[in-house]
Symmetry: C2
Subunit: 225 residues, 2 copies
DNA sequence: TTGACATTCAAACCTGTGTTTGAAAGTTTT
DNA sequence: AAAACTTTCAAACACAGGTTTGAATGTCAA
């Protein structure tokens, strides 16, 4: 089976290398040559095994999703029996883990974050297959926290606010590192961040219920308030 | 004065075109040819008037800052006499305005947002000269809202949370458009967004005071709480 | 008016990137 | 063992993007 192993080795080496570099640099800034160098393969190998760079990227997205798929199923199942508070913390923790963790399991989160900043042809499918389910989960949590008077717009704005906080640590990391170096968290240090974002968001979301009945009718707080 | 006008016209046309395209596409995805096309100038004009693309970019950043500079001074001065609530709203409104507005005055905000996602050599200076003063303003607001027991870490985490919400609408716009089309705001529609982010953030920040004394000591809420 | 200087221009240059090509080498099938 | 198929490889190709070059044109100063 020497042939088969050799066959899998080059293709798999390319997948591995590409997963890592795409996750780190995004599609645009990743060169085929760099992937091949890291995979110890000839530059034409990408075309031989995957057809072109774009299809390699698509295969990497698929592969990365597989690597993270099993873990997500158990997370979602476990979350359904929890309070919305714990579910929110779980969501934030998983989200940030995908951004800060190292290794194959974290590629998917990083690739998604990258794709959001620099969309390729893969964005549409990614939104429908990956982002929307996550958004639904967070919507569910948000509705439960606000209560039955929650409007769709409220829920969605809150979802975006929670996700925006998390993604900010990915998208603007070079700035945050310069501005507040102590906020440059590694994978082992995200508990502080998880706690903050969860708490910040919980307070805000829970206040939506009381505000809907009260200050919303009065048009919000004013300077004189 | 035909020479002087013609001289200014080409150079200024380049600055204008570059301001617009850089703000829209960022440094990397902007080509010298596209700038020159829009400016109705020869492709070598960038090198003639600015030396190279990078220096053109640096000049655009400087110019954009001038265009937004006067407006910012009056905003800051006015804000000092206001409550932290109004100041926060003003901050969010200005921030989002810079992202969604059209025209030269908005270049600076867009260029900064772009630079955060895709850092160039200009990032260090930009953080020190532009981002940090804005962060200080938001820190000041946050400290006033939390009160004297506010820790530096708390304040900074809150600053990042507020800014992250705003920037999310810039950085991940293609995703938000697909996920929640009704949240794709134009310049005339940001009042909903300003109100939401302000409210969300105010509630969260104000809850930091009570949480510091209480739940923080108990290690936060648990499932059984 | 001529010379000096400034501006504009098209073409060439250089480098980088993804892809193609065809030969060589390796492996499997007949 | 030969033919068929697969994999690998280096070089070439095609194109994009920033920069350089030198001539032509325009403007200003002597």
């Amino acid at each position: 089976m020497g042939l088969d192993e050799q066959h899998q080795t080059t293709r798999e080496r390319l997948l591995e290398a590409a997963g890592e570099v795409f996750a780190e640099k995004g599609y645009r800034d990743t060169t085929v040559r760099e992937i091949c160098q890291q995979a110890n393969a000839n530059v034409a190998a990408v075309n031989y095994y995957f057809g072109d760079k774009q299809r390699l990227y698509a295969d990497v997205l698929r592969y990365a999703h597989q690597c993270s798929g099993a873990a997500r199923q158990s997370e979602i199942a476990a979350a359904e029996r929890r309070s919305p508070e714990v579910r929110l913390q779980g969501f934030v923790e998983a989200f940030l883990g995908h951004i800060f963790n190292e290794g194959r399991a974290a590629w998917h989160g990083k690739l998604m974050a990258r794709e959001m900043m620099e969309p390729t042809q893969a964005l549409d499918a990614l939104v429908e297959e990956r982002v929307r389910p996550m958004a639904h989960e967070l919507e569910s949590i948000t509705r439960e926290l606000i209560g039955p008077e929650a409007t769709t717009e409220q829920v969605r704005l809150c979802v975006v606010s929670v996700v925006g906080q998390c993604l900010h640590y990915h998208h603007s990391r070079p700035v945050i590192c310069r501005l507040y170096p102590e906020l440059d968290f590694g994978a082992r240090d995200i508990t502080v961040l998880v706690r903050h974002i969860t708490r910040f968001s919980l307070s805000a979301i829970k206040s939506m219920a009381s505000l809907s009945d009260d200050a919303d009718r009065k048009g919000g707080w004013n300077e004189g308030q």
